[in-house]
Each structure stands twice: as C-alpha cells, then as structure tokens.
Amino acid sequence: MSVLQAYGMGWRRLWQNRPYWGLFFALNFGLALTTAASLTAFLGKNAAHSLSISDSLTASPYPFLSALTSQFASDLDFFQYQSVGVALVFFLLQIWLLGGWLNHLREEATGVARWGFWGGAARYFWRTFRLAAYFAVIQGALLWAFVKLGASIAKDFSILELWSEFDFLHALWWLLPLYLLFSVSISLWHDYAKIHTVYRDRAWLTRPVVESTRLCFKYFGRFFSLYALNLFTLAAVCAIYGMIANSIPAHSMAGIVLLFLWGQLLLLLRIGLKLANLAAADYLYRQVSDWNAAAPTTEGITQRYNDVFNPKAEAL
C-alpha cells in the first residue's frame, strides 16, 4: 500500500511545486532551443528555397534528407558537436538543480528549513556530481558486462562460429530483461543514495552510499515496485505520444504547431515523471528509514548555519 501512496504522493508534491517543474522544463527547452536556432539558420540558408523541402512533407522525405545530409555533411558535423556540448551543459545544470529539488523536498517534508532550493543546489552540487560519476561508471561496467555476455553467446557474430543468429536473438529474451532489471536497480540505488546524502548531509559519500545500499537491499521489493510503476507510466506516456504523433498530419502550419506542442507535452510529462519519482522515493525513504533520529537536530543545523553565514549570531 505504501508504494501506491508514495506514487500518489510523488505526483501530488510535484503539483504543489509546479514552478520547479516549470524550471526543469524551461532548462530542457532553452538548451534545445539553441540547437534549433542554428538549425533554422542552416535550413533557411541551404534548403528553404528548394521545392524539395516542400515536397518532402507530402512524399517520402528520404530523397530530400539524403541529399541534404550528403551535400552539407560538414555543416551537419557542426550540429553534432553542438549537440554534444549542449548535452554536457545540460547534464551539469541538471545535477545542480536536482540537489536543489532534493533539498527542497526534504525541507518541505520535515519542516526543517535549511538552505532552500537554490542553497541546496549549490551545497549538494559537488556531491551529486561525484555520485553521478560513480554510478555512471557502475552503469558502464554493467553495460560492458552484458555486451560481452551477448557477444560471447553470439560468438562475436562470426560467420565461422555462430550456428544461427537465433542463438543470439533467443538469448535476448532473457538477456534484455535481466539487463534492464540490473540497470533499473542501479538507478534506484543511485536515487536513494542521493536522498540519503541530502538527509545525512555528510561531506564524504562513503557512508551514505553504504547505508543506502543496505536500505535498498532491505526494502528492495517496495523500492523496485515504485520504480516499476514509474517505468510503466513512462512507457504508457510514450506509447500514447507515438500513437497520436503519427496520426497528426504535418502538411500545414496548424499540424506542425500541434505536433510540436504534443511533443512538448510529452517532454513535460517525462520531466515531471523524473521529479515525481524522486518525490515519491523521498516519501518512501522517510517511511522506512530512521531519518528523523539520524538527521541533524534543528539546533545543530542552526549552529552550523550560523557558523558559516552568521558568525556573530553566537554573541547575540
């Protein structure tokens, strides 16, 4: 029951804090807009005066796209580099904002005000960054292990060795779900490590990681159920998006705007899902952990706050 409660609570708290939802969306939108701006200039200069771009909306776009990508290959390289740069900036900003979101959730739920959203963002940036790096390495190692496993089943796709591609394809039936199970479990562990770090507020990450690992093992069923529920929501959202997006005719300005807005709605939901998932995890975390006993006391916090920001407070 607490899983469903947590799921509902996640969305409720997201709705209560919708300005932050908007903030996350604005970040995504704004950064993507930078690539869109240069693409507009590129197409405006090189393709907008050709009837082939108009024809590509009503007939197969392949002749236009294949001609465009080959005639302007070097310009398209620029978009690639730009996209990688934008993704990197987005990655860092996202780490920064997520620290703020977690701290805000914590403060709101416990009633203990500390640094607020922006203060939390600054305070936890380095720690969430390191966590992201560690867990990226773990995810990478997992992927590498599964690719190796798949390749060994497929005998490196050697025409000499592999009997049938079905030997590999049939193995995917268990390989893929198993990989997803592990990968999702690591993401889940990562999320609770972040939450635990924020609640414990320790400079070193070793203990929060170890403690959150213990927590994840102990309450794996509940944590995973919540994750599965969120993943199912994501799959449903994407499926509905795909079905409707494919039926929107894009020949007119109205259709194009509708398609774009529909895409934005999907993004809004995806971003909301990520934030609601953290809010729900935060709720579940408080249900199962001794956060209250272990959390620094109000006096302790006030003391430390004064140490840092208001050294004269003691004299008052």
Binding site: T35, H49, V86
Partner: protein, 663 residues
C-alpha cells in the same frame, strides 16, 4: 505411391533418352543452341571436404572455324594460394576469410586427374595455364588443353574428365561451413568460342577469363545431367529438377537434369527443409534451415509477382522450377547469388514485415534469371549489362509491388523509403559517382567502383533513359532485347542498337538522329550530371528613363514585372533539360533547353513575377546528383523549415532528458 515414383523415373529416363537423341542430331527445336553439355557424377566427401568427380563434356563447334585448343575454367584454384588473382584483388580480406586461409589452412583447389578424348587419348600432357586478364602467372584458374585431333566446323566432341576438388571453407560464393555446403563454380567448365561477329569478335576467338573477385558468368547454354552422391541424411537442392533419388548403403544419389542452362550449382546439408509452391507451370522450391522456414511465404509471394511481371513484359520463364536457397547464418558466404534456376537469398532473424530487403534481394536474384542466364551477356567484361538492368528492374518492380500495398521498400516506424531513391542515393552520395567509366570490365573497377557504377549508376541512367523515351518505348526496347537475344550472347552495342531502332520508330528525330550522344556520356565517360537553378529575380518593369531615351511608340504597354531565371550546368554531362516556371498568379509555363551551355537565362515579362523555377519537374532525370538545387522558390518555405526544426528540437529534448537518466 511407389508405382507413381516408378512411372516418374521411367518418364525421366525416357526424357533423357529423347534429349540425348536430340543432342546427337542437333535438334533444332531446342530453345538454346546447346553448345556446351555436361554429364557429371560427383561425390561429396564430408570428412575430407572433397569433391571427387567424373564429367563428360559434349561440345558442338557451331562456328566456321577449326578448333585445336580449348580453355577451361578451374574456378576453385582461385582459393589455392595467396597468389591467385582473386585473392590479390581482395587485398584486404574480411577477418573471417583471412583467418581460415592463413591460420587454418582451409585452401580450396581443383586438380584435373585425367582428360581423355573419344579416341581414348590423354590430353593432359599438352596443357598450359592462361592469364589473359592480368598476366599473373601464379593464377591457375584457366587451363588450356590442346586437342589431339582438330575439331572441324559443325562437328561435336566428347571429353572425359576425372578431377578432385578441395572445398574451401566459407569462401566467396562457394564453400562449406559446419555441415552446410554450397557448391558453385566447381567443375571444369569450358569457355565460350566467339565466332566472328559474336559480340566484339572480329576473328574467331575463345573467351575464357580468369576468376576474379567481381563478375562471374559467361557461358554457353546446354544440357546438364548431374548425379550428386552425398551422405544419406543430406538434403540436396540444385539447378534444374530432381529426376531421381537412390539410396546406396550410407549414401544417397540425387540425379538432376537441367536443359538450356549455362551453369549448374547445388547445395547440401542434413538440416535443409523444403517448402513448395506453384505458379502456373513453375514449381517454387524453398530450401532453408528450420529457423528460417517462416520466410518461405514471403519469398513465394514476391517471386510469383516477379514471374508474372516478366511473363507479361518480356516473355515466360522457360524452366519448370525455381529453387530458392536461404543459407543459414554460418553459410552467409553463399548469400545473394544467382545461378540458372537457383537463387540464394538471405534474411536476418525476425525481419520485420515493414522491411522488404529480403524480398528485394530475392527479386534481384530472380531478375538475373533473365539478364545474364537467359540473355547470356558477358558479366566479366560488361557487368552493367546484367547488374545495371537488374538494378533498373529491381527498383521498378519493387516500387510497383509495394505501391500496390500502399507501402515502400522500407516502411517502418514512420520511415518510408523507395528502392529507386535508395539506389539513387547510393550512386549519388555514398560512393564517388565519377570513380570510373561504366564500360569497364568487372575486375578493372577501382575501390568499390564496381558496385557504385556497374550496379547503381547503370540502374540510374536506365531510369533516366526511360524518362527521356517514355515507359512504352522502354518496354519495347526491353522486350525486343529479350526476344532477340534469349539464349544468345549480346554486348552493349547490341543493346544500344535496339534502343536506337525503337526510339527512331517511336520518336523520329525528336531525340536526335540516334541516342549515341546519351550512351557516349553515361557509358564511356566518368561525367556526372548536375543542373542548378542559380537565380530567380523579379523586378518592377519601369518605363525607359534617363538621357536620350528612345521611346518605341509601337511597343505594347509594359507588364508590371520583369523576371529573370538563371539555370546552370554544374557538372560535365549534357542532357536535355525541361524547366517549369510557376508565377505568383498560379500560371505555369514549361521551357526546354538543350542543356549544353554552362548557363542559360530565361526572361519573363508578366504582371506577376516568378514564384518558383524547377528543373525536371517529373524527375525523369535520376542522374542529377544534387536534388536540392534543382528548384528555387522566390519565397522560402518557412513552414517546412519549421516542421524540421520542430521535429529536431523535440528529438533533441528527448535525447537530453534521456541523458539525465544518469544524474
């Protein structure tokens, strides 16, 4: 059931006898000249990976020359050592090929043990290896044998061969892997004697090229009776039809007969399963491993369509059977090949129905039944005559086939691609469209040029030819070419002669005295084609002004706008160009240009300016390598730009949001 089988064996034997009598008397009602005929007995030794064979060649001298020497292909010697021309041309072998040759010693070869004529004289004492193409003396793929007695015009001869061949492992087109065998180009095969006037021959001459990496076939048609002995549990598929099966101890003998074919290939494995279907008088036989049995109905459907298409357009498929072999993954070396009445196809597990590449491949290999098996052009010397025509038909037939189902060759997840566009893109963008002339011999194409030019460019200029002369004339060209050259050996000159003949009848002088100007450019040069609308301008038509203006009182009142459009020829090729001008009031005008100058200006004086200019509005000219600059609109299409920007932006946002799964 037993009685039925006995009757069929008797019938087969009767057919055999009749055919032999026919052969001996040079029966004139046979569809092909039946020059090179073979009786072969071969045993597959699966333990040693050897073929042990005896073959009998019955050859007719249909020329007016006396024959004293005969060249034979010994194709398997291309895999004998690293010095063969084929392996030298394959300068960078894929690892799965080089590994087995270098480390596992899996070479393949063929050794002639005896060659004896009808008088019992051994001919092997007088032999030499020939290297007519590259003077690589280490190449052993062509052997020439002196006859003990000269063969006079109109006479026939019989030669008896015994030979053994080591089957290469997973090699080019032919070989074995695990217990899958695909045996092609495997027996001593005679070259083609070209009498004066045949193709480019001015004097009588043998045509027998070495075995190269690219280009495989050129042979005379004849009758093949082949007995194949394999282990008892092996299933065999082959050229022609099976006339008998006989179990002998632990072995099984399959007897096949093929009439009026130019080659014979076969496959054997204990895992092959057979599915059958019928189209008119033709039996379709699909051989695959059990895990690919599901592809059978997909191949049958498209091949029935192809059979009907060619029957309607060119003439009937003249054989009683078409065998389709889908090699297993470990037999992929045999995939995508064409042999008389037998084709090899290929697909990868769970191929979605929206991707029709397997069907396209099957159609491609089937088209070769007509272009280079029935019409036996020289693939080694003029590969475009079969690969180009096959590429032309592949796109034409597939786009029409899937258009009937309101689809495209790829129709998956909103992506739709037509075969014609796919082939055009490969020619125009993925390779170098100017890498080589289109008239080169197969082994003379440099760096991938064989695929880009002899397949794709030829396909592209054949559609363009169709664009210029129209579909009805094109169909007449193809039908005439087929009917005139069925079971013959045409060359490019013969094809061009038919085009000129038909175009003259259908179009008079409209396209010039003949179309040699077209073939000279597309076949014999590396020229590419690119026409460009480089400028569209509209100006207010102001009255004459300034000092000493001469006013022409008789001139009509000026229109509101003067418009100027500039068309440029960017590349070397010169083709007639049609340009469509659309004005802001919706008025449309078309103009012709001979396309020879580097640029041409078009002026208009109308009350409305030019909104757009488009070269080749019906896209008849597929040779144009830059499709983007074929048109220019005065007002840019911002709606389309916004569509693509919007799609890309949402896509970018999705990527960004996916990246943060790691945060």
């Amino acid at each position: 059931m037993k009685a039925k089988k006995r009757i069929s064996v008797l019938l087969a034997v009767a057919c055999l006898l009749l055919a032999t009598v026919g052969l001996a008397t040079g029966q004139s009602s046979a569809p092909s000249p039946r020059i090179a005929n073979y009786d072969v007995e071969v045993t597959l030794d699966v333990a040693e990976k050897m073929l042990r064979g005896r073959s009998q060649l019955h050859w007719r001298n249909t020329s007016t020359d006396t024959i004293r020497r005969m060249p034979f292909h010994l194709y398997y010697n291309a895999f004998k050592n690293s010095q063969s021309s084929l392996l030298r041309e394959w300068y960078k072998l894929p690892p799965y090929f080089s590994q087995q040759l270098q480390y596992d010693g899996e070479w393949g070869w063929i050794d002639l043990l005896t060659v004896v004529d009808e008088g019992g004289r051994s001919l092997l004492d007088q032999h030499r290896y020939l290297q007519p193409d590259d003077q690589n003396t280490a190449d052993r793929t062509v052997i020439e044998i002196d006859l003990a007695e000269a063969l006079l015009p109109g006479d026939s001869l019989r030669l008896d061969f015994t030979w053994e061949a080591r089957i290469p492992r997973s090699m080019l087109r032919s070989g074995y892997n695990k217990d899958f065998y695909f045996i092609a180009q495997w027996y001593p095969k005679i070259g083609v004697y070209e009498s004066p006037g045949t193709r480019y021959a001015e004097r009588g001459q043998w045509n027998c090229h070495q075995y190269h990496l690219k280009g495989e076939f050129y042979a005379d048609h004849g009758i093949y009776n082949v007995a194949i002995t394999v282990p008892q549990d092996y299933q065999v598929g082959a050229t022609g039809i099976a006339v008998d099966e006989q179990v002998l101890g632990s072995s099984k003998v399959y007897r096949f007969r093929a009439e009026d074919v130019s080659d014979f290939a076969w496959t054997a494995s204990p895992h092959l399963q057979v599915q059958e279907a019928q189209w008119a008088d033709v039996r379709l036989r699909y051989l695959s491993y059990p895990d690919h049995a599901y592809m059978g109905e997909r191949y049958f459907a498209v091949l029935k369509y192809c059979l009907q298409y060619f029957e309607d357009l060119l003439g009937p498929y003249p054989y009683p059977q078409l065998t389709i072999v889908e090699p297993p993954f470990h037999g992929l070396f045999a995939m995508a090949m064409e042999y008389p009445t037998l084709i090899t196809v290929g697909s990868f597990g769970f191929l979605p129905r929206g991707i029709h590449t397997a069907e396209t491949l099957a159609a491609h290999e089937f088209i070769h039944q007509y272009f280079m098996h029935l019409i036996a052009s020289n693939e080694t010397e003029e590969p475009w005559l079969d690969e180009g025509l096959t590429t032309y038909f592949e796109a034409r037939m597939m786009d029409e086939y899937y258009a009937q189902q309101n689809s495209a060759v790829i129709d998956l997840l909103g992506v739709r691609v037509h075969q014609k566009d796919l082939n055009w893109n490969t020619y125009a963008h993925l390779g170098n469209p100017k890498i080589a002339e289109n008239d080169r011999a197969a082994w003379e194409y440099p760096n991938g040029g064989y695929e880009y030019i002899s397949y794709k460019k030829s396909g592209v200029w054949l559609w363009t030819l169709e664009g210029f002369i129209g579909r009805p004339s094109m169909d007449r060209v193809l039908k005439t070419y087929f009917q005139r050259w069925r079971f013959g050996h045409p060359c490019a000159r013969d094809f061009i002669a038919i085009v000129n003949e038909v175009v003259r009848e259908d179009h008079g002088d409209r396209l010039g005295e003949n179309l040699n100007w077209y073939f000279d450019q597309v076949l014999h040069t590396t020229a590419a084609c690119d026409y460009k609308v480089s400028y569209v301008g509209n100006f207010l038509n102001l009255p004459p002004m300034g000092k000493d203006v001469v006013v022409d009182s008789s001139a009509e009142a000026g229109s509101r706008y003067l418009s100027k459009v500039v068309i440029q020829r960017v590349e070397e090729m010169q083709l007639p160009v049609e340009i469509e001008f659309t004005f802001f009031d919706g008025h449309v005008e078309r103009r012709q240009w001979d396309g020879r100058a580097r640029s041409v200006n078009f002026f208009f004086s109308r009350d409305y300016g030019v909104r757009s200019a488009e070269i080749d509005p019906e896209r008849k000219n597929y040779l144009d390598i830059n499709y983007l600059n074929n048109s220019y609109t005065y007002v840019p299409d911002r709606v389309a730009v916004r569509y693509y920007v919007g799609r890309c932006m949402v896509w970018m946002q999705q990527v960004l949001q996916t990246v943060v799964a790691l945060v």
